[in-house]
Symmetry: C2
Subunit: 438 residues, 2 copies
Amino acid sequence: MIVLSGGSGKRLWPLSNDVRSKQFIQIFRKEDGSYESMAQRVCRQIRQADADASITIATSRTQVSAIHNQLGEKNVDISVEPCRRDTFPAIALAAAFLVDVKGISRREAVVVCPVDPYVEDDYFRTLKEMKALAEEGDANLVLMGIDPTYPSEKYGYILPESAGRTAAVSVFREKPDAGTAAEYIRRGALWNGGVFAFRLGYVLEKAHALIDFSDYHDLYAKYEDLPSISFDHAVAEKESKLQVVHFSGSWKDLGTWNTLTEAMEETSIGDAVMNETCRNVHVINELNVPLLAMGLHDVVISASPEGILVSDKEQSSYIQPFVDRLDQRVMFAEKSWGSFRVMDVEEESLTIKVTLKAGHRMNYHSHRNRDEVWVVTAGTGRTIVDGMEQQVRPGDVITMQAGCRHTIIAESELKLVEVQLGREISVHDKQKYELEYE
Amino acid sequence: MIVLSGGSGKRLWPLSNDVRSKQFIQIFRKEDGSYESMAQRVCRQIRQADADASITIATSRTQVSAIHNQLGEKNVDISVEPCRRDTFPAIALAAAFLVDVKGISRREAVVVCPVDPYVEDDYFRTLKEMKALAEEGDANLVLMGIDPTYPSEKYGYILPESAGRTAAVSVFREKPDAGTAAEYIRRGALWNGGVFAFRLGYVLEKAHALIDFSDYHDLYAKYEDLPSISFDHAVAEKESKLQVVHFSGSWKDLGTWNTLTEAMEETSIGDAVMNETCRNVHVINELNVPLLAMGLHDVVISASPEGILVSDKEQSSYIQPFVDRLDQRVMFAEKSWGSFRVMDVEEESLTIKVTLKAGHRMNYHSHRNRDEVWVVTAGTGRTIVDGMEQQVRPGDVITMQAGCRHTIIAESELKLVEVQLGREISVHDKQKYELEYE
């Protein structure tokens, strides 16, 4: 199973931003009362449908930390795209990764699905059927068809040759104009659900036909030079041997606050109080202060260390241009080793809180233009400062002059306050080093 | 002029709370683009009407820091009430303060007014007239009469003996029932504006009649035993020689978000963006992250380190019981020496940011149950730790074990990050000491 984990949308600001994509927002309540993200939910559902499913996530470097953080380092493989190049190069790279790195046979069938559909278990049973069809080999490519609701110009249209759950495809057409779309719908067409099943060898052949490369490593090296082209245009639209499996279950695209809040089980997450005159109000409060909502109708409120959104639900679809204009520092980020939060910004100082997971560490690094002070507030671990190792516990203070190499290794979960001091504080001022004894 | 600065209302939460009363919220735009609070506005207006006016603010101990901070330490006198005992004890104590501490003659007339009416300059001209009438002495007590708008049961009613701007009073009646109020209005009564003018000696006589005390210091010592009684009930309602001055200018009670935002000159203060579909929306954002409002009507949004309010404007009048239920730590406070803000709360640590004004210092103090670390982030000054003095500048780190006596003195404006560490962190864990060389 290849899961496509896409870009850094801002339509769910302030919870999504340049470093946290919407699929990592933990907003869906699980049975045990905790919350999971879209990425966690989809991977859990894949495993529930097939306990032995092996999952490869195709994504960019910026998401690797979040994936390790939320899904664990050993539960999924990651095919890292060196840069963004639409779905065809991403799928080709993931296929080459599976064959050349993971040693999977080219005859093996895989299913490619997006990370962000909000669906139920029947969806994943359909994926298994698609994979089985791809293995049978009557078609080169198996698509998922979804019942269309209106003649949208944003979807691909699949015209089956016959009625029934599974059928050969007579026409596949990406994003036609509204008139053509209406005509397709009249003739019984389905929307393309963005899910594909095929044998790995099939996609590698297509890739070799379009791109000159030898193996995974060569493709990876050439990735930046590849054109941006969708799998639909590059492969699906040109293929004559297509099959479709009709999926008529629940399927939601939770890309806006309006649709996302519809999928929330409660009206609020975090510290929030609503009075009895609120109607159809959803609050997601990631700040550690209370939020009080009174007398509101059809409103979504979302507060995070990045900012605060208060929006009429319908209006929330139009958020993107406003967020683009907010020129802001990343105030919170989850990393594979833990997380950080900016607590205070002054002209010549920056104070952040760092949480390191047990067993994790920072890179061994130095800064040219700033001094730093650590105050350990919780947990135990070891610091290495210019090669000198030291045990640390709450209350310990470590001061580091500019140029001094440093890291901290968490034994238990470790929290610290880091004060950065200097005239030119920048995230780019960081030199990394190998630790010699490693 | 005695200005009564009342209690710690929560109706303007999250900007007002137990330590910041609504009269100290800086929300009114001045000509130079900066903002002033109700307390600053009223004192500025008093001085504009009478450059020589001497102002005494009658208030509780908890407000002394905020008053010094906003009005300066030398511009106003403060009559500190040891505890809250309604307006009659407060006015009597302030009168005794003026006579016994400030040495003002008992024959001198003063005006008492509340700190929070939102009024224009004509109001203060009326106060001067009232003072002049009190000095003439035709009446013992001069009241301000305001045009009533409906038979409210919350106001006092003043029935003048004759028409005209100034008149003797035939009846003064506190808070009658609605029927009686309507009858008074029919007969030409005015609302009591809560402003009184009298000779100091008059109020001291009334005080001696009700309370057994010798002078200011004795009254101060006995203050806690005094009954809570309003000046209207204790004095005005019983007085037969009353005059009224009719004030017909603009007069607003900005006690709720609804009325307060009406007096704002702009629709937002702080980092806020509203899209074009917002109508009658006001935003006050004291946080250092952006706030985006979309598609809202008749809504007030207020965000501070204490919390976030999003409310329909009319509904905002009903905020009190909800705020009472929020059991929360004070996250931000202005003090006479500067301010502090809580940045992070953990089970066994608390991180705050402290800003000291130039020339100011903390008390010399120690804590039984916590260690502390200071990291200076801006400015210069001196620390004294267990009697040892040391110059400090940005980047300096001071560690203090529990029990260790410490203070910091700001030479220029000084900022520091304070990390508190311990199992029982409490604001009550503080022992103060005199500095020996002082």
